[in-house]
Symmetry: C2
Subunit: 249 residues, 2 copies
DNA sequence: AACGGTATGATTTTCGAAAATATGGTCCGG
DNA sequence: CCGGACCATATTTTCGAAAATCATACCGTT
């Protein structure tokens, strides 16, 4: 299934197949609704759509080129993920942020991620080790290339997400992984929220390295301790530099 | 906003307002979509719609009297809850069941519910104690009245759900409570799955009573231990009596 | 001036038709 | 007799118009 693979890689100046030159409507999913769900999710996480922003259909319709119904489906899905707030008969809005919500998301992440790291360390095989090492390697490469504002770099965001995903990937529970992924997205939105006001990113590279080493050496107690302080210190940092955004809600 | 409050309380034999006598389309939510989401959820949990069953729009349209789009929105929401399986371009079906999924749901419930009980015991005030005691009282009353097949009694199901909800209600995290509620629903579906083949319900009343007492006396270690074995033994029971349904998927 | 009710405009929600896609069967060539 | 391409049908997915609902400003009354 590599149908439209070339369309984004090569400009269509000498395209032999005329219809494949058309920019595809669906980039991330087979259906338009799934595609828009994905795009909206990215924009909300990146705070391109700011927290609390009303999501009016007229505006979305023009922005995403889809009909009421399709948009409604996407918004319903995101509401279930906690990124959108559905107010019955009064439309949708980007889920608001609050200090309380940040604390809850952080707490829930610690509870679940600590457990999943522990399970992964116990169950992970060679492939798991390779995934952890290689995703961290890629992350460090990207950080070397452009050490300024990592959250502004889409590649860094993907690599960062994939490293944390790899760490827990051997836990054996698709159910808990899905919950973890939702919480990760909600936490990432808070990181973006404070990114513009944070003077300088602290040294996460060292933390990631230490977590990787603890995981690979199967030191579960150390790894879980490092993950917990990694999550909590990130959240503390967000709370510190986004105070003005969290208290006025 | 007590507009339609009388419609369910008093029969409309001498109703002064004619239009309020009409059976409302929306019983559980302000929108039809929310209403259908609720009704579909109940039917899936009760296994009135069996696991794996294809959910074709023609059939649903006639059954629920709603249009394609509205149904689609409801199914999308339920897919995010893990009760419906969305196969892109190939429609929806009731989420299939499996032994693996049962184990995952049980494990996740133990992880989260144990933590929430602990937090509730630490933080719960008088109102929490009253809620725990009164919901258990109501549950016991219903069990006395009809001790045969509790899962067939909608009132027992609601009371049972509310007792377990009350136990964790003081945990202080709406985020974790929402996750817990989803997992509870998924577990309840498995209980229904085995209910028809289980010869006789085991004595849950005693377990509930013991959990309540441990919680009220703020014995967190005992309460969490009781909750864990309560959840696990229920799941073991399901696995035992629904083997033929779990292995053929 | 303050209040309550009402008309008006804006916005969401719902609908069924139309387009897009998958499914199943048939025919043809090997 | 088997396998693959093609067509017809079944089903899902998408659309924009129409209905329902909400927000706001206006008006008359107290």
């Amino acid at each position: 299934m590599v149908v439209g693979a070339a369309s984004w890689a090569i400009d269509s100046t000498t395209d032999p197949m005329p219809e494949s030159a058309i920019r595809p409507r669906k980039e991330f999913g087979k259906t338009i609704a799934a595609d828009i769900t994905h795009r909206l999710r990215e924009e909300i996480i990146a705070c391109a759509l700011p927290p609390g922003e009303p999501l009016r259909f007229d505006v979305l319709r023009e922005r995403f080129g889809a009909s009421f119904t399709t948009l409604r489906e996407a918004l319903t899905a995101l509401a279930a993920e906690g990124l959108v707030d559905a107010q019955e008969q009064r439309g949708f809005r980007v889920a608001p942020v609050s200090r309380q919500d940040l604390v809850e998301v952080t707490d829930a992440r610690v509870l679940i991620e600590v457990e999943l790291i522990r399970r992964s360390i116990q169950r992970g095989d060679d492939d798991w080790e390779i995934a952890v090492i290689s995703t961290l390697h890629r992350l460090k490469r990207i950080e070397q290339r452009d050490p300024e504002h990592p959250l502004r770099d889409p590649e860094w965001k993907i690599a960062h997400r994939q490293f944390h995903q790899a760490l827990v990937s051997a836990c054996g529970s698709a159910t808990l992984l899905a919950i973890r992924a939702e919480l990760f997205d909600r936490a990432e939105r808070y990181r973006h929220l404070s990114a513009n006001f944070r003077p300088r990113p602290r040294d996460k590279a060292g933390e990631h390295q230490a977590i990787m080493q603890a995981a690979i050496s199967r030191n579960a107690d150390l790894a879980t301790q490092l993950i917990e302080s990694h999550i909590r210190s990130t959240a503390d940092n967000v709370a510190k530099y986004a105070t003005h955004l969290l208290d006025t809600e």
